[in-house]
Amino acid sequence: MKQVSTTINGQKYVGNAEPRTLLVYFLRDELGLTGTHIGCVVGKCGACSIIVDGKVVKSCMMFANQAEGADILTVEGLAQGSKLHPIQEAFWENHGLQCGYCTPGMLMASYYLLKENPKPTEEEIRRGIAGNLCMCTGYVNIVKAIKAASEKMQAGGQSQK
């Protein structure tokens, strides 16, 4: 066991992880942050996507030890109290989810996409979420939601955290 300390959603977290423990299990089982989902565990579905040091990554493709000292944003960090993040609002309003399994990962991929490219075209949106699979929606409403989020954030002059 090794001690791993990270900053998650602006808060310090310290926990123990075996070298072979994947970051996603560390977040969920050791730290109790179960917002991040586990789907395939082989890097194909994107359900486990989180932001590590400003970049979206799949947390099943990293060992917890590799995140020592990292600054992490998970889906739990998007809303401010009861105020949803504009991306979350847009997913809600545009039916960008059905069962919700893929949603935490989709939100984090969208968050990164809009940070890098605040006004993406439909093609750029589709490319941005290419690593995130959704079994329910057929993606149409997800793409719509990301478009709407982009507009909301432009209009609100909302600079992301």
């Binding site: 090794k2 075996e18 070298p19 072979r20 395939c40 565990v41 082989v42 890097g43 194909k44 994107g46 996507s49 970049k55 979206v56 990554v57 799949k58 493709m61 990293m62 060992f63 030890n65 590799q66 020592e68 991929a109 990164y112 996409l113 490319r127 941005g128 290419a130 690593g131 995130n132």
Partner: protein, 294 residues
């Protein structure tokens, strides 16, 4: 199929050396029992499937000074830990080596490109991967650092067999150098794939340089997915060198590239089909590269 596997790697010891020399002494100490970890986008899956089970993992991912892109003397020097995303979006790479930027843009998805490194792709040496075929086409140079110093080999000697390179167990790949393409060059990377994030069925890296009269001064063709190593299609290059790149010359080059390819049949297609696709995609890639000559 996933549930058939135990997705937890065998237990191992983890080290995060702060410098190259510290990493080298760990490699020396643990020998064949140890393995370098960079972005982990190839190694972590292999460990989960227990196809690779090193007792000691040496994480070089946070060693400073191994991630950079520098243009020098008509060359672009890229630190081994530079991520796919960083290479893809580098203005220098885009303007002087479009084929590499385009190949990087096809690697997996944004999450994979944010963690996976150019050096990791090279060392993993998957013959169907995107970056190695470009490195072979451009005859990139690989700088490896060991406890007895640095050595440099070219792509021809670096890629030796499927998943096998010239890198020694006690060395780290430090840098990859590609040429900045000269004026009047055009290049492209064309990937034929089943869907986003998959490896290529076949892919073509093409770069051409014309002289003032429009004659091919230099032609570079690299192929992915057609051999046990990324293939440099030298005979196809010869079909164009010193000639005007008209339709006949392009078709001859495409036919030779297809002849030289020895793909195997797998879930992505039969060998025969892939050979045919090499012909189609070499032709298209050459036309695109030529249309970009400026």
């Amino acid at each position: 199929m996933f549930t058939l596997f135990n997705m937890i790697p065998r237990a191992f010891e983890y080290y995060a050396p702060a410098s190259v020399s510290e990493a080298l002494s760990l490699l020396q100490k643990y020998g064949d029992e140890s393995k370098v970890l960079a972005g982990g986008q190839s190694l972590v899956p292999l460990m989960k499937l227990r196809l690779v089970s090193p007792a000691h993992i040496i994480d070089i991912g946070r060693i400073p000074g191994l991630s950079y892109i520098k243009e020098e003397d008509n060359k672009i020097r890229i630190g081994a830990l530079t991520t796919h995303h960083e290479v893809e979006t580098s203005p220098v790479v885009k303007s002087k080596c479009m084929v590499l930027s385009e190949a990087e843009s096809h690697v997996g998805d944004q999450q994979v490109r944010n963690r996976g490194t150019i050096g990791g792709s090279a060392c993993h040496a998957d013959p169907a991967a995107d970056v190695p075929s470009v490195l072979v086409a451009l005859d990139a140079e690989f700088k490896m650092t060991g406890s007895s110093g640095d050595r440099v080999v070219d792509a021809r000697n670096f890629f030796q067999d499927i998943f096998t390179t010239d890198l020694r167990q006690n060395e780290i790949l430090a840098e990859i150098t590609v040429p900045a393409l000269p004026p009047r060059s055009g290049s492209t990377y064309l990937k034929f794939e089943r869907g986003a994030g998959d490896f290529a069925i076949v892919a073509v890296a093409a770069a051409v340089t014309l002289d003032q009269a429009g004659v091919c001064q230099d032609v570079r063709l690299g192929l992915a997915g057609v051999e046990s190593i990324p293939l440099r299609a030298l005979k196809a290059e010869e079909a164009l060198k010193g000639k005007k790149p008209d339709d006949n010359a392009i078709l001859e080059a495409a036919a030779r590239a297809s002849e030289q390819s020895k793909p195997s049949s797998d879930i992505r297609g039969s060998a025969e089909y892939k050979k045919e696709m090499v012909k189609v995609f070499v032709k298209r890639a050459l036309k695109t590269a030529l249309s970009r000559v400026s």
